[in-house]
């Protein structure tokens, strides 16, 4: 039961909408006469809400798909019920009632556009320009095989959303601490996540894993000399530097 309460609290987060929903549900259960609305929005919501807090139901759900129990709360039509109860509640006082309701909803919620993960798009891909420019620099020619590249953590998610021609020895699975089966297991990542990055250790690994390109964030210090380690600087784009590892050739496609 504690588990379920924790999931409910996490779902509510910093807002009060689930509690507004509960209030709206009680209000509508007491006042709504239309049978179809009672069946689809009210009685069904009540059953789902009771089921959600029923420990045995959670056990069954965990067998089906562990870690997604919060999705049962998606089945509660919170938005429809709150908005419908609101318009019923204000009666004939449309203007003042609407203003008051809007204010309550704004004050008890959290604006999505203030989320730190939302920023002005740099292009229609909604991928950082630096990723696109770096990928274009290392894009293989038509007669060449796909290339392998290592990127700093903050760019990893975007690279293959732009092009399937750029491959990476490791990807997002290294960055998710919750994914214990993958996290922190790739030898190159173990070097890349450190500051300073040890080039003496990194470059042989790049060669071992057939990586032709390396992208470094200029603000992350490196230990060792890039040129002495055999890396050739190709270009600098925004805060990143692109290096070629000449020890690994770019392979030509075999003719069909």
């Amino acid at each position: 039961m504690l588990d379920i309460l924790t999931i409910f609290k996490q779902y509510c987060g910093s807002g009060f909408y689930p509690f507004l929903f509960l209030a709206a549900l009680i209000y509508l259960l007491a006042t709504e006469k239309d049978r179809k609305i009672r069946i689809v929005l009210l009685d069904t919501s009540l059953v789902i809400a009771v089921l959600f807090f029923f420990p045995l139901f959670k056990k069954v759900m965990d067998i089906l798909d562990e870690g997604t129990y919060y999705r049962i709360l998606w089945l509660l039509p919170m938005t429809v019920v709150i908005a419908y109860a609101g318009v019923k509640l204000i009666g004939r006082h449309n203007r003042i009632g609407f203003a008051a309701l809007a204010l309550v909803l704004i004050l008890t919620g959290q604006c999505v556009y203030q989320n730190i993960n939302i920023s002005r798009a740099q292009n229609r891909f909604h991928i950082p320009n630096a990723v696109i420019a770096l990928c274009n620099e290392m894009m293989p020619a038509e007669d060449e095989e796909r290339v392998w590249a290592v990127f700093p953590d903050e760019l990893i998610h975007f690279v293959r959303q732009y092009s399937s021609e750029i491959q990476m020895p490791y990807g997002r699975e290294m960055l998710e601490a919750g994914w214990e089966w993958n996290w922190d297991t790739h030898p190159i990542y173990r070097v890349m996540r450190e500051a300073p990055i040890d080039l003496e250790e990194l470059v042989p690994l790049l060669t071992e894993y057939n990586v032709q390109y390396l992208v470094l964030n200029r603000s992350v210090p490196v230990e060792g000399d890039l040129q002495e380690c055999g890396l050739i600087k190709l270009t600098a784009i925004e805060g990143y530097e692109l290096y070629r590892n000449p020890a690994v050739e770019i392979f030509k496609k075999e003719p069909d």
Binding site: D43, W74, V87, S164
Partner: protein, 365 residues
């Protein structure tokens, strides 16, 4: 540019409208509205694609070409059937002297009449409601939201589009892999790749920029239909309801788990479409089905519930289960309330695709 326009017109114009016309044959004459037809057609497109994509993907690793050709051919055939069906029905209606059907001039005239009939207060509330939806569409277009899952789902679309390989490449790295059936049975990333192929637009742009411009208004169309069932079409409360819904969505980012967070931050992902569009369609259809005052048969709505359940399976591995659960609970409640056992049978019949899908998941997954 021409390919973008023609592909977009085909997938988001001709197919939803014409396949929607095919579905509208199952409904009472007076209930055919343009919004119903478009929503039905869009869902049919998704469901048909899911039914084609799963076997193609399982049988053919390099099947994107085949999938594109098959899906286009079947959708085009359904469109043609819809137009023929609609033409026949119109002719029959004219012969019988009835004209409850739909036409472009009819829709335009109906909308103009409805607009003139509104009070000034109602018109202003509608302007606010439409502006709120417009803001969400603009923000989805002009602002990027970061989500780690894109490194899986969007990349699956990019891979299918750029390499023609269906779910046999690890999205994170590019190495080959076996078919991950659990994720692959939810074929939405392949549909996004199909949209990319048909329009010639990069799959990441399709997901992040194009689809929100389609899915956000489509979701609000569902809210509009639900609002109409709750409040009536001519009621001044309807635009107030719509605006409150918009506020609840925009200010609903209280945690990473809410429907609203998924709706505006991960609009293009299957989980988001499941939590919003699919479940809202279910609510709308169930309100129609259990409406005693509805004119005409409920058969069309029950049929669309089946289509919606197939589309649910396309969205996420748990989509079929969630949709069946909601439908099952509502069906049970309705059967008890209305003392009609037949509701349970109809509900069970609607859930057959969900059961088949879940069995596939258990056996193959």
């Amino acid at each position: 540019m021409l390919q973008k326009a023609l592909g977009g017109l085909f997938l988001f114009g001709i197919v939803p409208v014409c396949t929607g016309l095919l579905w509208s044959g199952g409904m009472g004459v007076k209930k055919r509205s343009a919004a119903h037809i478009y929503l039905a057609g869009f869902l049919i497109q998704l469901a048909v694609f899911q039914l084609i994509a799963v076997p193609v993907m399982v049988k053919n690793a390099h099947g994107m070409e085949l999938l594109t050709e098959l899906a286009s051919a079947v959708l085009a055939a359904l469109c043609a059937a819809g137009v023929v069906c609609f033409g026949r029905k119109k002719r029959a209606e004219r012969r019988n002297g009835a004209d409850g059907g739909i036409s472009l001039t009819g829709v335009g005239r109906h909308m103009a009449e409805a607009l003139f009939a509104l009070s000034w207060e109602c018109r202003i509330f509608w302007l606010i409601a439409l502006a709120a939806i417009g803001v969400q569409m603009y923000m989805a277009f002009a602002y990027a939201s970061f989500d780690g899952d894109d490194a899986y789902y969007v990349v699956q679309s990019v891979l299918a589009d750029q390499t023609g390989v269906l779910n046999r490449i690890r999205p994170y790295t590019g190495l080959s892999t076996d078919l991950d059936i659990r994720h692959a049975l939810a074929a939405l990333p392949l549909w996004e790749a199909y949209v990319a192929r048909m329009t010639g637009i990069h799959a990441a742009i399709v997901a992040h920029t194009l689809l929100p411009l389609v899915l956000i208004p489509l979701t609000y169309l569902c809210y509009f239909e639900i609002g109409r069932k709750l409040l009536g079409a001519a009621n001044v409360k309807l635009p107030i309801f719509m605006t409150l819904v918009s506020i609840l969505q925009i200010w609903g980012n209280t945690s990473i788990y809410t429907n609203a967070t998924f709706f505006l931050m991960r609009t293009w992902q299957g989980k988001s479409i499941m939590a919003n569009l699919i479940l809202l369609v279910q609510i709308w259809l169930l309100l129609e089905v259990f409406d005693k005052k509805r004119e005409g048969s409920s058969a069309g709505y029950w049929l669309l519930l089946i289509v919606n359940n197939v589309a649910a399976a396309m969205m996420t591995s748990m989509g079929a289960f969630l949709a069946a659960m909601f439908l099952g609970i509502t069906g049970l409640v309705a059967a008890i309330r209305q003392k009609k056992l037949s509701i349970l049978f109809k509900t069970a019949a609607c859930c057959i695709p969900n059961v088949v899908y879940l069995l596939m998941l258990l056996v193959m997954g």
